[in-house]
Each structure stands twice: as structure tokens, then as C-alpha cells.
Symmetry: none
Subunit: 157 residues, 2 copies
DNA sequence: GCTCATTTGTCCGTATGTATC
DNA sequence: TGATACATACGGACAAATGAG
């Protein structure tokens, strides 16, 4: 627990508490958000920020604006448990491509089908497809559909 | 009051009580005689002697054989000016430290509080703290406060 | 496209410490 | 004695990015 009367600055105390939690977490695990820390330890948000800043400067965590702070250096694959929905969907499709159930120059399931299969909104399905396109797994032909790319353009795995 | 069951030796406890009285007395004022202390605190005369010896070794009092013990260094004419305010304040704080009302690694009153409690200027309060710091009673953490040192670094009493 | 919630980024003002002049 | 500077800490406000519907 924090000791407000103690010799050590609050943000330093908090940083060492978080250090303990981080040590028990695999890379990619989300660290408690600033708002959560604020509530849990009854501190100002600026103090929580300061503590996380210390951890970041120590290279123990990395922060993605608008998303959160995660254990380990940036670029680390986040544990699948914490993937956003659109990434999970994209992963499911790449799996089917690699397994051969989706063939090069053949259509992938339409947005509508993806919505039903995964129970998500259209925007989420669109984002999954956009993600696959950016990585080179698929390409889109206007007015016709989205197709699996030739194997040469697949990202190296 | 004295605590016969306490951790601290009786003569140390008595010395800190006397320190407080001395702090409020001008140099040259007679300290209670050994016999008076013996009666007031229900202790052996040897214990009273021992407490006064501590104060003498601290330079807080001097003893004239056959006459008595007096506040301040020897040669001081009695009933002169009061001690410098900062010394009075410092002595008050060391008393609280020795009495256990101010604990190691806990904050001492801030300058602002000392100003109000003793009715002195900020510079005076600062000087008192600086005095304590030089003697090893306290240490200061920037932007956080001044704290009681661990007992190991206290001046020997 | 829009809306919503969550999260981080940034800035402000206030209070409280000490440090310095 | 007073004024100023600096750092921590708190609290609030608003913007920007992200994910999701």
C-alpha cells in the first residue's frame, strides 16, 4: 500500500508496486489504466501518470495513446487474450488461409458473413479486412469482393 | 512523564524532559537540583545525576560544584538574554523525537507550522531545521519535507 | 458516415514542501 | 521579512486516438 506520509514520493512508491505486478505478467498484458490506478490508490491522475512514466523510462512498459499501457517493449505481440475483436477476426482468416481452406485469388467471406459469424458490427468486420489488406494477406477489387493474395505477397510469418 | 516500563533508559527520558524545560529558560537559570528531581520523579539520585550529566556533555548546562547546575555554557552571566529562538525550537523538536512523539522516517512539522507554533519568522524556523540537520537529527527530502533520521544517526546523548 | 465509451495527451490552477536571494 | 523559484500532488477541463456499435 501507499504511504502518503512516507519519505518516498508517492509516484515512486506506486512505480515499485506496479513493478511487482509487471514482474508477474507476460509481455503484452495491459497495465491498469490511469483512471483505474487513480481509483484504486486514491491519488490524482497526474500522479498515476508520473508512475507509469517512470516505468516507461525504465523500458518495462510501452504506451499506445488511446489504447493503454502494456507490459514489455513496443512491438511485442500482445497476448491473444487481449486482442481487439477486429484483430481476432483477422487472425481467424489468416489461419484459414494458411490452412488452405481459403485459396489465393478466391474470395474471402463477405462483410455480412463475417458480421454473422463473429457477431460484430459492420465497422468491425470492415476493420478486420482493412487490417488484412494492410498486411498483404488480401486485396480488394471494387464492386467484386476481397480476395486472398498470391502467396508471394503474404507477410513472412 | 517518565515511563519506567519504556524502552528508553530512565535517565535518557529525564534528560529529554529537562531539555524541554531548558529550552524555555534563559541561560543562567538554575536547573532543578538533584534532590528536587529525585523527589519530583521518584527516582534515585544517581539517576538524576546521570541525566544532568547527559545535558552537561551536550553543552546545554554547566555545573558549579557546591552551587548548582545552570542553563547554558559556563561563564555565562545568569539571567541574560534568551537563547536564540532557533535553538529553542530545535531543542523542542529533539525532545519530541526522544520522547517518541516524532518517529524516525516520519515528517517533522513543516516550516509553516513551526512559524505558527513558535511565532517566529520563516528564516528562524529554517535555521532551527538546519541546526537539527547538521546534528544528524533529521534529513530533508526536496519537495517533500524534513524527516526524523533513523536512530543510528542521532547524536549520542 | 455518426455516436459512444475508454484511454492517453496536454494544459490550467491551487496547495504545500523546500531552496534561494 | 518578503519575494521568487522549483518540485510534488491534487483536481479539473479539454483534445486526440482507439475500439466498437
Amino acid at each position: 500500500m501507499l504511504d502518503p506520509e512516507g519519505v518516498t514520493h508517492i509516484y515512486i512508491q506506486l512505480a515499485s508496486i506496479l513493478r511487482g505486478r509487471i514482474a508477474a505478467s507476460p509481455p503484452g498484458t495491459p497495465v491498469a489504466s490511469e483512471a483505474e490506478l487513480q481509483q484504486e490508490f486514491r491519488i490524482a491522475r497526474s500522479t498515476a501518470r508520473r508512475a507509469i512514466q517512470v516505468l516507461r523510462e525504465d523500458g518495462l512498459v510501452h504506451t499506445i495513446p488511446g489504447d493503454g499501457t502494456f507490459v514489455g517493449p513496443p512491438g511485442q505481440p500482445r497476448h491473444m487474450e487481449y486482442w481487439p475483436a477486429y484483430q481476432r477476426i483477422a487472425a481467424g482468416i489468416t489461419e484459414r488461409i494458411l490452412a488452405g481452406s481459403l485459396l489465393p485469388n478466391r474470395r474471402i467471406p463477405s462483410e455480412k458473413v463475417l458480421m454473422e459469424q463473429y457477431g460484430v458490427a459492420k465497422a468491425t468486420a470492415r476493420k478486420a479486412v482493412a487490417h488484412l489488406r494492410e498486411q498483404g494477406w488480401v486485396f480488394t477489387v471494387p464492386s467484386r469482393g476481397t480476395y486472398v493474395s498470391p502467396q508471394e505477397t503474404w507477410p513472412k510469418t
